[in-house]
């Protein structure tokens, strides 16, 4: 795509195509669906964090009037499942053992929700309690208690170690070597919509499931396995998702139970989780303990970095193997890091399983790295902004760990955010605090940067097929229909699927109908995760639209008696720009095309370039391209209370190209919001084996009053990998705000809180340490005794030229259109 291209739709701040339904209450989310004869289901969940099940008696529940059916794990095929092929460790309904409070044990379908709930209480379950392991330390310290029988050691789900270059040599070359320890507390997605599913097992023996899921394709695949039914007889329809953030990416017990119950009782079955259950389903941010050692030259260059991470994984695998890698592998993408070693371990505990939450595994090390960078800058007497700018990674090169990076707009992001925030006037230098020393209210300013992937380079199960598929059909009315398995979770992917063909075909987005993900109708898109949808289904839909356009141009060219290469599509017409009066209306062009070609339906496919590093584990981290963000935060710390008052957040984000700036800004603002919550208050914490605060009141999500003004600046680098140059926007901007807040707090009051959430208690404690002349820091003090695997040692690929730019597996041999 050239800069000369004049966009008609791309770049316009258009309303989302589903916005009108959403502002009128028309949108039907999964819990809004009702079918005739529908029953309501509830799950009975474990009241023990870790126990053997010795008896389940459902007789009393079955006997209760209004109950249609009761199932336990013994009514399901005895097959374990999990989203990742390497972690098949879940049962929809536990049979032998429960591993957390909230593990599902039985399910009831009844005439209404109250009856189902009361019937659940009539189910008798006898438990033989086992010791509950509620932290990384406890799980590693009690190898005699095993949460699972598989993994890389007692209660160790995954143990990885990768080395790229010689870190010891890199540290020997450094003028300053810092070792720091950080902790990032777990948090949950807290989508406003509680998960819901409606299953209908028809009399024809075919199953339809409507669910609030971000991954209908994976749910489809896994349902076939879990229910032992041919996938060909299962249809999964993604209902509009009322917030996902990664929390609706696994196949869940409630979905499976609804399907089985529907088969059993011959009725549609709906199940909707309570808010408390959503906390148990979780799959959110891993608590991660981190040790990071980095060498710096006097000028601020990084000579090498060694990171160790310990992830508190909770009771099941979920995406945890990927999460473990992600705490390590994306770090070298932001700055020049010639040598890198990463060791990571994920530990099972008796808590709800962690998984992918916005930023999947990367906000934790980003917090550690950016805070350490600030500490190093202070020691070296460097300006924190200048130091970062100096070490921004080189575009179109490879990282130490063999990731190919294309465009990098980080330097521009830093410049823009520095200018917008008034940094030069506000930053007084290290230890030079602003303001009146007599007042407890101290202002501070801080900076952070980050990078994030635009879609995972490999699928969850190994295959060579497209990651995203589209079928685009032109109708004689002049409308175009897009079928794609992508799920709109609020980010606007359905709208992108309308904008892009409209751009290619010269239509209005309103002329494009986008069908929601439906495994019987729409080609596979892997799902709304890893910031992959805009890029992958975007490229696929452009390909399909270009194929349609080529046929239409050919047909119109024949009609007009001109060469097809002269024709353009714009303003709902196709014609010769030099003789526009003869241009043919789009609907007429479709008739001409259909007469010549037959039915006008064209596929588009996308798979990422094959760039996995040639070492075990090299499949996690590659992405077609990476987005970049720089963030400045200005805040006030109340030194009497430890309170943090955020004033403004400035964020510049390199999105490649803003296909719709309004939607990109929305993604950036939402990311900042979620990062602020994690930085200051959100925490998924436990006490006596139970979630301490499974409610909207006690799990603290920021309101309008805690959310500062967010100033978003979009930087465009026109990446060759993205659709019209676009990169991701939905996750990356979450990363830099957390360390920027921590760094601004240091600027304000001179204390380092190396642990999120940064609560008033921790700030006060650090201020007391400071007053006592001790190290003004609050954070983890010790690391677990743990031996990582011997590393897989690979040569650093740092600085090598990028390979395979814009080479796409399913592209046409020569460009069309």
């Amino acid at each position: 795509m050239t800069e000369k291209h004049r966009f008609a739709v791309v770049g316009q701040p258009l309303a989302k195509i589903d916005a009108w339904a959403k502002v009128t209450g028309e949108t039907r989310y999964a819990d809004d669906l009702v079918l005739p004869r529908m029953a309501y289901a509830k799950l009975l969940r474990s009241s023990h964090p870790h126990a053997r099940i010795t008896r389940i008696d459902t007789a009393a529940a079955r006997a209760r009037p209004g109950v249609y059916g009761v199932i336990t794990g013994y009514d399901l095929p005895r097959v374990k499942f999990g989203i990742l092929p390497v972690s098949q460790d879940e049962e929809a309904l536990c049979t032998e053992k429960v591993r957390m409070v909230g593990d599902p044990v039985a399910a009831v379908a009844a005439v209404d929700e109250e009856t189902a709930e009361r019937a659940c209480e009539l189910i008798e379950v006898d438990y033989e309690p086992l010791p509950a392991l509620m932290s990384i330390e406890e799980s590693l310290g009690h190898p005699e208690v095993r949460i699972h029988e598989y993994g890389d050691g007692p209660n160790v789900h995954k143990n990885v170690s990768l080395q790229f270059g010689d870190v010891d040599e890199a540290f020997a070359k450094a003028d300053l070597v810092r070792e720091d320890v950080f902790f990032f507390e777990g948090s949950t997605h807290l989508p406003m919509e509680q998960h819901a599913a409606l299953a209908h097992w028809g009399a024809d023996g075919k199953l339809t499931l409507w669910s609030s899921t971000q991954t209908p394709h994976y749910v489809h695949r896994l349902l076939a396995k879990i229910l032992d039914v041919p996938g060909a007889h299962i249809r999964v329809i993604a209902a509009p998702v009322g917030g996902g953030f990664g929390g609706k990416l696994d196949p869940f017990a409630h979905e499976i139970a609804a399907c089985k119950l529907s088969q059993r009782i011959g009725r549609p079955v709906k199940i909707t989780l309570t808010r408390e259950e959503v906390f148990y389903v979780h799959r959110g941010r891993h608590p991660v303990l981190m040790w990071i050692k980095t060498g710096f030259t006097r000028a601020g260059d990084i000579t090498g970095c060694h990171l160790k991470t310990w992830l508190d994984g909770g009771a099941y695998g979920s995406y945890g193997v990927a999460s473990t890698f992600y705490t390590g592998v994306i770090n070298p993408v932001t700055y020049k890091m010639p040598v890198y070693k990463f060791e990571g371990a994920r530990v099972f505990t008796n808590k709800p399983p962690c998984g992918p939450k916005r930023g999947h595994g990367t906000p934790q090390p980003r917090f550690a790295l950016e805070c350490q960078l600030d500490k190093a800058a202070e020691q070296l007497g460097l300006d924190p902004v200048e130091m970062r700018k100096r070490i921004v990674a080189e575009p179109f090169t490879k990282t130490a760990n063999h990731l190919t990076v294309t465009t990098i707009g980080l330097a521009e992001c830093i410049d823009r955010v520095v200018e917008a925030s008034g940094w030069p006037a506000k930053w007084k230098g290290w230890g030079q605090k602003n303001g009146d020393r007599r007042s407890p209210r101290r202002r501070g300013i801080g900076v952070g940067c980050s990078a994030y992937m635009t879609g995972a380079g490999t699928a969850i199960y190994w295959n060579s097929m497209p990651h995203s598929g589209v079928v685009l059909r032109a109708d004689r009315s002049g409308a175009v229909t897009v079928l794609c398995g992508a799920t709109d979770i609020g980010q606007g992917s359905d709208s992108i699927l309308a904008y892009l063909p409209a751009e290619v075909l010269g239509l209005e987005p309103k002329d494009v109908h986008v069908h929601p993900a439906d495994t019987s109708l729409t080609p596979v898109d892997l799902g709304s995760y890893s910031s992959r949808v805009t890029l992958m289904c975007g490229v696929a839909v452009i390909q399909a639209a270009e194929r349609l356009k080529a046929v239409l141009l050919k047909a119109v060219a024949k009609k007009l008696g001109v060469d097809a290469s002269r024709l353009v599509a714009r303003d709902r017409k196709i014609g010769d720009p030099d003789d526009w009066d003869t241009a043919v209306p789009f609907a007429r062009a479709v008739e001409l095309g259909e007469s010549m070609h037959g039915v006008l339906a064209f596929p588009g496919s996308y798979a990422p370039p094959k760039r996995a590093g040639k070492y075990k584990g090299g499949g996690v981290g590659p992405s077609p391209c990476y987005s970049y963000s720089a963030c400045v935060v200005e805040l006030t710390v109340d030194a009497d209370t430890g309170d943090v008052i955020l004033h403004d957040v400035w964020i510049a984000h390199d999105v490649g190209r803003a296909l719709n700036p309004l939607l990109v800004e929305g993604q950036v603002e939402g990311s900042i919001y979620m990062g602020i919550g994690e930085a200051l208050m959100e925490a998924q914490i436990f006490r006596k084996g139970l979630h301490k605060q499974p409610s909207m009141l006690d799990y603290k999500s920021p309101t309008t009053l805690e959310t500062p003004e967010i100033h978003t600046i979009l930087v465009e680098t026109n990446d060759p990998e993205g659709p019209f140059g676009a990169k991701e926007a939905g996750q990356g901007p979450l990363l830099p705000v957390i360390p920027a807040i921590a760094n601004a707090i240091y600027d304000a009051v001179g204390v380092r809180i190396d642990e999120v959430p940064i609560t008033p208690e921790k700030i006060l404690k650090a201020l007391e340490l400071k007053a006592q002349g001790k190290t003004p820091r609050v954070g983890p003090e010790k690391l677990p005794l743990f031996t990582f695997k011997p590393p897989i040692v690979v040569e650093s690929a740092f600085g090598q030229p990028a390979d395979a730019i814009a080479v796409r597996p399913f592209a046409d041999p020569e460009p069309r259109g």
Binding site: T24, Y29, D31, Y673, T704
Partner: protein, 163 residues
Amino acid sequence: MKARLSLTVNGETREVLVAVHKTLLEVLREDLNLTGTKHGCELGECGTCTVLVDGEPVLSCLVLPVEMEGRTVKTVEGMADGGTLHPLQQAFAELGAAQCGYCTPGILLTAEALLAASASPTRDEIKAALAGNLCRCTGYTKILDAVELAALRMAPAAAGRPR
């Protein structure tokens, strides 16, 4: 215990026979098929289920329909004037203030009550009015922008002003 109630919702009077312990939220969604009203906690802790009762924002998850007789209830389905959207609905759609859209009905109604009481609220007043509505998608930024835009368009002085 069931009760026969006469409820005035979105200007229409409807007779329902419902158990008295069903909340307004449940009756709206399950008996009147007004599923535009959403729920996020059912305990008064998130604001998602907000509706207007006699023009005031209340949480339908903590209201009994039996207490609603003789009062008027308004849900998101009642905001548009026939085929014409309320300026708030228009502004929310245009500015991207609805992402997943799940908190949107409650926020729209809360904002409608604010603008009915105060034609041109400050940004801080809008934040205070919406402090009882959680949103996890937007960071509230575009929501506040949209309320400001709607207020501008609704202000009589704005008539004829290009926006």
